[in-house]
């Protein structure tokens, strides 16, 4: 499809600007002037509208397609959230206003959103306090690991240079630990899909700062030993980090703070129904146990005895500033709307239905795509196309492309790395049984086609604007802009 830079023609104009009402002079010296205007498109407003509308139609999205991308929790994003976020009282609010004298009084509504949402999140996770500042899940991980580092530093325990990470973990876990200056040591998964306790014992030691565990884990399984794991981690002087990427599986039913974890991040764009935006912005608040509160990033939002809200900066042990301001406020606002809509009695129903939907899919597909760890799952199931790969050269990738051809967004594939030909399916609680049945039928059809006509599947998808792209060639000679 034509690029926006190739559309239009020289001299064509888009949006009309206000007339200049002052003399046309600037304080930019000639020597610092740009010699040639940046080569932006020369198009009309309608050209722009057509272009982006056409592009939009080339996307699958939650509003149009079942999108069971495992680990990403692609639930429905309520429409009224968008309307709230567009209110001028939120959208046009300058973040530096509270730093002006009397300015705090002008942002009480926004500070209330931050304070109340962090209080609800602390209650749901079972921790003492939250910071809403981290701007994505991985940013929350980094923040959490920095809090662990601050804790050990406060005890002059400089020997702890290692972060333990399960072999099934998201890549962001080791990458976040490394960004905070840690070495990573891998802990194995046992034959049932749980943390291998013997290996954990072998890897724990006086050089270990913490253990980052996703709960439920990235196989979509709840590790029944989780409290034993956090106990052993503590016994060696390390802290237990909960990656909350899969919080949707347990929300309202299990609180990681009650399981012995010390710090946790939550992905608002997953569990709290904020839009994924085609790849961000997200929001990754971090919750901590009482003894870690003093290290939380500043500023902190507090509620005064008179019911007003304020920003506090005077915390000498704080790790400092991880965000320019208070986090991705626009995302937090939508998550707050979701929290208020779902409410106390609703959260357990969210996780119950998420777990039910995933187990329903698992029960219907476990024969056709046998899972490596065959047990009841939580909010997602990890199936495998390993036998199709071996017998018919049909890989997880081919199943994914076949699903696209049948009008479904594929699940996450090839993750976790410890499951060969992994197909990680997360339906969420929002999907109806009819949708799940249609998806199950498509998956069974694909398994049959893999045997009957594998070449058909290798050619999929055939009904999309483009077919499979040569990604190897693209990476070898990258063309990244025009």
């Amino acid at each position: 499809m034509e690029l926006i830079f190739d559309a239009g023609r020289p001299g064509r104009r888009g949006v009309r600007l206000p007339e200049m009402s002052v003399p046309k002079q600037t304080a930019i010296p000639e020597s610092l002037r740009r010699t040639e205007a940046a080569r932006m498109p020369e198009v009309s407003e309608l050209d722009v509208v057509r272009h982006f509308t056409t592009l939009a139609h080339r996307n699958f999205c939650v509003d149009s397609h079942f999108y069971p991308l495992g680990s990403c929790t692609m639930k429905y994003n309520p429409k009224f959230h968008e309307k709230i976020a567009a209110l001028s009282g939120f959208a046009d609010l300058h973040p530096l206003l509270p730093q002006l004298r009397h300015g705090g009084a002008l942002t009480q509504g926004a500070l209330a959103v931050l304070y109340e949402s962090q209080a609800i999140l602390a209650e749901l996770t079972g921790f003492a306090e939250c910071t809403m500042q981290p701007m994505a899940g991985a940013h929350g991980e980094l923040t959490g690991v920095m809090l662990i580092a601050a804790y050990h530093r406060s005890r002059n325990d400089a020997a702890r240079r290692v972060m333990l990470i399960p072999d099934a973990a998201h890549g962001t876990n080791p990458a976040s630990a490394a960004t905070a200056g840690y070495e990573c040591r891998v802990v194995a998964t046992d034959g049932n899909g749980n943390v291998d306790l013997d290996d954990l014992d072998a890897k724990l030691g006086p050089d270990v700062a913490g253990f980052m565990l996703t709960c439920p884990n990235t196989l979509g399984l709840f590790d029944p030993n989780v409290t034993e794991i956090t106990r052993r981690v503590h016994a060696c002087g390390a802290l237990a980090y909960c990656d909350g990427a899969n919080f949707n599986a347990i929300i309202g039913r299990v609180r990681p703070g009650d399981l012995g974890f010390d710090v946790m991040h939550v992905n608002l764009h997953k569990t709290f129904a904020t839009p994924h935006g085609g790849g961000g912005p997200g929001s990754g608040p971090v919750a901590v146990a009482e003894f870690l509160r003093r290290f939380l990033p500043v500023s902190r939002v507090t509620k005064r005895s008179d019911g007003t809200y304020s920003l506090e900066y005077d915390f000498p042990d704080s790790i400092g500033y991880i965000a320019p301001f208070y986090g991705n406020f626009g995302v937090i606002l939508k998550a707050y709307a979701y929290m208020l809509t779902v409410g106390r009695e609703g959260f357990p129903r969210v996780s119950d239905n998420a777990v039910l939907n995933a187990n329903y899919i698992l029960s219907k597909l476990r024969d056709a795509y046998p899972p490596k760890y065959d047990r009841y799952c939580m909010h997602e199931c990890v199936l495998s196309a390993a036998h199709l790969a071996e017998s018919y050269h049909i890989h997880a990738l081919d199943i994914a492309k076949g699903l696209i051809e049948r009008g479904f967004h594929p699940p996450t594939i090839y993750f976790p790395l410890i499951v060969p030909e992994a197909l990680m399916i997360e339906p969420t609680e929002c999907e109806s049984r009819e949708t799940l049945d249609a998806f199950i039928a498509a998956m069974l059809e694909l398994a049959a086609e893999a045997q009957r006509a594998p070449e058909e599947l290798h050619a999929a998808p055939r009904n999309t604007p483009i077919g499979r792209l040569d990604e190897t060639a693209a990476a070898r000679k990258p063309e990244l802009s025009v």
């Binding site: 709230i84 002006l100 986090g327 039910l356 939907n357 187990n359 499979r468």
Partner: protein, 446 residues
């Protein structure tokens, strides 16, 4: 319960299919044997109408009718309605990271176009798909320079946003990195002192253009001097200014970053914003973040894919160029749509409107008895005035008169308590600027 489709009957039949008698039995079978938490402090759920009314009331407790001269890196620019309408299409905002190119060409092509627009604006060769914000982008640039040079020292100018500097200090808290901050004047960022502070162990020097005080400077000789010594030059820049001023690329910077909020993204009380990054071609594979490239299918058709993924956390894990997973895609899309709507001439005119307004407003303020210029030889749309009173006090009193007057520098620069950093965008009218100066005069002298 909203947003859940299953009926009681669905649940019963599905539990039957699964082979569990109840949800409790299913949870227990899945290994969860814990008593349910009380959740006493969580309110009961309400309808969207009730929640909307509550949030509308909260929105009403925020002041957005102030006439805005407050910037300090985050600006109240004009945003065409089509940006909201197009970026607000659910096909864009309810999709996720484009892992499956056949089902994501809309997002992928938009990112490719965004990368191209950033390259054209900055005068650089390669851009990524975006980072969280300007501060994290600058930190990522510093880490990139440290990886490239294998040196552990970075020099940063005090004329870089104090908001970014305190973030970078925070991220270095557990890292073995020596961060040297060099004091700066207003009219130039103490380039000689920065060069003097950069030794053979230095990975990079971080500066800002225009600097935090609004000043535009020539950096070409500076970047050349660093290049001779194998030190990378990194700049945080203001994209709206780049429409008019000599590009960082032309000035020889190795890594260009910045806060992209000025490109059609609302202020929204601090985010989501847009961190951009563009680098020289030779550093392409050292760059953090998602990148989209052009590719071809078997029929020779053009398409776009996530590429150079071998740098990223899902493959390289602890050896990745960054821990970032997604980009700030919705904001990058807004920036691209904004740049497209304004277009080649419109972008220049929008920036000229800001720059001319700023020069005019400064003139009006300097007519007031006791208000003195600080710097101001070369600036885009932000400048400093010295007031005869504490600038924080004045800004507080200006709020009562309906103006966010600017940013009092004393908060971050204790020696500058009388100085106010004033930003003027294309949104401000001649009348508002006149009223602003009149209110300032009244606050200072009545």
């Amino acid at each position: 319960m909203p947003y859940i489709a299953n009926t009681e009957e669905d649940r019963r039949e599905m539990l039957d299919a699964i082979g569990c008698a109840s949800m409790e039995a299913l949870r227990a079978a899945a290994g969860v044997n814990l008593p349910p938490p009380a959740l006493d402090n969580i309110p009961e759920g309400r309808s969207e109408f009730e929640v909307s009314r509550h949030l509308e009331r909260l929105a009403g407790r925020n002041a957005t009718t102030l006439v805005n001269f407050l910037g300090a890196g985050y600006y109240d620019h004009l945003i065409p309605a089509a940006v909201d309408a197009l970026a607000g299409m659910p096909e864009f905002y309810t999709a996720y990271t484009p892992y499956q190119p056949e089902a994501s060409q809309g997002t992928l092509q938009a990112i490719f176009e965004y990368q191209s627009a950033i390259c054209r604006l900055t005068g650089m060769e390669v851009a990524n798909a975006s980072l969280y914000d300007g501060g994290t982008a600058l930190f990522e640039a510093m880490m990139m320079a440290i990886r490239i040079t294998r040196r552990r020292r970075a020099v940063i100018s005090e004329a870089v946003s104090p908001i970014f500097r305190r973030m970078i200090r925070c991220y270095c808290g557990n890292l073995d990195i020596e961060l040297i901050e060099v004091a700066s004047g207003v009219d130039d960022s103490a380039q000689a002192e920065l060069l003097a502070a950069a030794d053979e162990n230095t990975a990079c020097v971080l500066v800002q253009y225009p600097n935090f005080f609004g000043t535009l400077e020539e950096w070409s000789a500076f970047t050349a001097a660093l290049r001779e010594r194998g030190i990378l030059s990194v700049v945080s820049s203001y994209p709206m200014a780049l429409a008019l001023v000599k590009t960082p690329g032309e000035m020889g910077f190795d890594i260009v970053t910045g806060e992209g909020q000025s490109l059609g993204i609302p202020l929204e009380f601090g985010g989501p914003y847009l961190g951009f990054m563009a680098v020289r071609q030779k550093w392409m594979r050292k760059m953090p973040g998602r990148v989209v490239g052009r590719a071809h299918d078997h029929a020779g058709r053009d398409g776009f894919v996530l590429t150079l993924q071998a740098r990223e956390q899902h493959i390289k894990r602890e050896g990745a160029t960054s821990n970032i997973c997604s980009n700030e895609n919705y904001c990058a899309l807004r920036a691209l749509i904004y740049l497209s709507l304004l277009g080649r001439r419109g972008l220049v005119e929008a920036a000229e409107l800001c720059a001319a307004n700023a020069l005019f407003a400064r003139g009006e303020l300097l007519k007031i008895r006791g208000v003195k210029p600080v710097g101001g030889n070369a600036f885009f749309n932000e400048f400093i005035v010295e007031l005869p009173l504490d600038a924080g006090e004045v800004a507080g009193r200006m709020i009562d008169r309906g103006f966010a007057a600017g940013f009092p520098l004393g908060r971050y620069y204790p020696e500058r308590t009388g100085q106010l950093l004033v930003a003027v965008t294309g949104k401000r009218t001649r009348e508002e600027m006149k009223q602003f100066a009149a209110a300032m005069e009244a606050v200072l002298w009545n």
